[in-house]
């Protein structure tokens, strides 16, 4: 009796899970497996190459080639620098804005929130195109106004990292503000009242009470921002058109795109993307563990 119940339960659980499992298999596992398989091969020609290329088993050769390629490594340095600038600035600003909105000092709260959020509705690629225009000397009303001389290389050339961070900020700050604000709203008012009764001023309430209470939300946002950073692609891809500093393999993702679609080296591209995925997974795991431990009492 009991066993038949569990079997039936198991069957219905399988029934409910199957759409997910099938989709997961088709859109994640199969491409992943295909990439893993592709990464084991390389295409070799000989002589002048007139006979075309033939596929050869390379073993882990593509992984070694990617890992030891200084261009690929430089991509991670770029990402490191980007994350080091972007995450504190983004989280700090978003938190500050959310605390301001929550403080009762802000007027037109809803309007401000919506206005901040609107850029997030613009697709990343379009945002990058808009900023490309805004960064281009001679065309941009902004750079001329800022006194960037005409004929100069433009902001994307002189400050590639900051110009990419700026696009990210514009696009994602409102999103994080909404998350933080929602978390702040969920703080029981009694806690804040108690703090005020004890003589804490607004600043102290914000920094000592509210901010620590929404730490899980802040940590999650920071984590997603870091993982998003590893995937940096759209903004530099577009800005590269007008920037002399952003090269065709500026970030690891650009490197894989260049390897596959301009160098026709699909094996190398597959190996490099799996390396990126591995690093992203390791990083997420490490940050997760770290924050878990810290949030333990």
């Amino acid at each position: 009796m009991v066993t038949s119940m569990t079997r039936r339960q198991g069957r219905s659980a399988g029934l409910f899970l199957s759409p997910f499992l099938i989709l997961f298999l088709i859109v994640t596992i199969v491409p992943l497996g295909y990439a893993a398989w592709l990464s084991l091969f390389t295409e070799r020609s000989s002589g002048l190459g007139l006979g075309g290329a033939r596929r050869e088993f390379a073993g882990l050769g593509n992984y070694v080639k990617a890992a030891t390629d200084s261009t690929f490594q430089d991509g991670f340095i770029t990402i490191g620098a980007y994350v080091a600038v972007y995450v504190p600035v983004m989280i700090g600003c978003a938190l500050a804005v959310a605390l301001l909105l929550d403080s009762g000092l802000a007027v037109a709260r809803r309007f401000t929130q919506t206005t901040l959020f609107i850029p997030h509705a613009v697709p990343g690629l379009i945002a990058a195109l808009i900023w490309l225009y805004l960064y281009t000397p001679g065309l941009s009303p902004v750079t001329d106004w800022l006194g960037q001389g005409q004929g100069s290389a433009g902001v994307a050339s002189t400050h590639p990292l900051l110009s990419v961070v700026n696009i990210g900020m514009w696009q994602w700050m409102g999103y994080n503000v909404v998350i933080f604000y929602a978390a702040l709203q969920a703080i029981p008012r009694e806690v804040i009242e108690a703090a005020t009764m004890d003589g804490a001023d607004r600043m102290q309430v914000a920094l000592r009470i509210k901010a620590p209470l929404i730490r899980p939300a802040v940590t999650m946002a920071a984590l997603f921002t870091i993982i998003g950073g590893i995937q940096l692609f759209n903004e530099p891809k577009i800005l590269a058109q007008a920037s002399t500093s952003i090269t065709s393999a500026w970030t690891p993702n650009l490197y894989t795109q260049d390897a596959a679609f301009s160098r026709n080296d699909y094996g190398l591209a597959a190996a490099a993307s799996l390396l990126i995925a591995g690093i992203a997974a390791l990083l997420s795991f490490a940050v997760m563990r770290l924050t878990d431990r810290r949030s333990q009492p």
Binding site: Y34, G47, L48, T136, S243
Partner: protein, 433 residues
Amino acid sequence: MFRWKPLAALAAVTALSLVSACSSGGQEVGAEPGEGQVTFWSFLRGSDAVAAAFNESHPGIKVNFVNQAGGPDYYTKLSNAMKSGQVPDAAVAEYTRLPEIVSLGGATDLTGEVGPVVQKTFPGAIQELVTLGGKTWGVPRDASAMLYFYRKDFFDEHELSVPETWADYKTLAAKVKSIDSGKRAGAYLTGNYNLLSALSWQAGGKWFGAEGDSWAVGINDEPSLKVAGYWQDLLKNDLVTSFPDYTDQFWQDIQNNDLVGYFCASWCAGNLKATVPDQSGDWAVAELPSWDGESASAMWGGSSFIVPKGAKNSAAALEFIKWITTDPQGIAAWFGTGVSSMYPAAPTLVPEAKKGFTTEYFGGQDIYAVLTDSYDSAVPGWRWGPAMATTESAFNDRLGKAADGSAQLTDIFSQVQDATVKALKDRGLTVAQ
């Protein structure tokens, strides 16, 4: 009851299609000669008109034109099509990229079918661009000989003369700057290596060549380094302005009358006419300055047509390709849009092209005569390499550093040489030392 079978089948089909995507498409047996459907990929202006005109005059063949975006993405699409076996029957391939397509095994050897036609119709410098290993892989359409575009009104006003040598050009550039510190007589491109490759070609550089069964790579050969040093000097003395490419920022300078001259190929005439129509009558063209005063030229761009390997209807595709590249009617069809300044690779078709391009914009100047001189003086022996995408990005990633002074152009040429040789060796190609 939940049905597994259709979904399992779907999953299997998806997996299979992914797997089969990497097996190369085999050559299929062609249909009867000159009949049936032809899929045609091109990004060239006027391709639609040409396909339509062909369909009208060839009832047995139906050409289906599929418009493509130009630039590097096109070649990505083409090479992916080659990998999946779903290739068009006829496709455009710029001379720069033809050897790479061939070395990836993506083009059909056309020696038997069009080899004699190509030999008979086109001059040697052009033939070399579609020949590799003694075989003909494509049929040339246009030749984009280099020119110097200049503002005749400004030159006349300040009694400037058109430079005949590169030494003259430097003097001119300095003069223009001294007349008005905001004006320049030329531009350096930080995101497009074609300007420097054309000028290296003109100087007698040979970036690629076949020595028996191996590639010879000479991106940092002596003539090319001479060009690099010369442009480094122009940049150092701020005699030319810099743009990523001949796009937005460049056109802004043209519009503001800040740029009074620039080096570009024949197709730039059409661009100029279309982009700044209000400067009609102000512009003129001249041949490139040369190192020794003798006419010498080179090309920037230019296209040929290939039959990708695995094409289903290569016989009809070849008929179409021959018509649009060598038949006067075919050439006439290219000019349906009225703005093309295409210069046909076949000299016999130039009068036809000339008829299609009105020259009021150039103050009535016979720009086709200048183009013919430039075309005829193209330095022979230039070939493109089998990994131009790598060579191109290696250049474009670095050219900006010469403009902002953080690197020497001559060093950049040597770095690109190393990167290119490495890319060739990585692919198993033989490189002569």
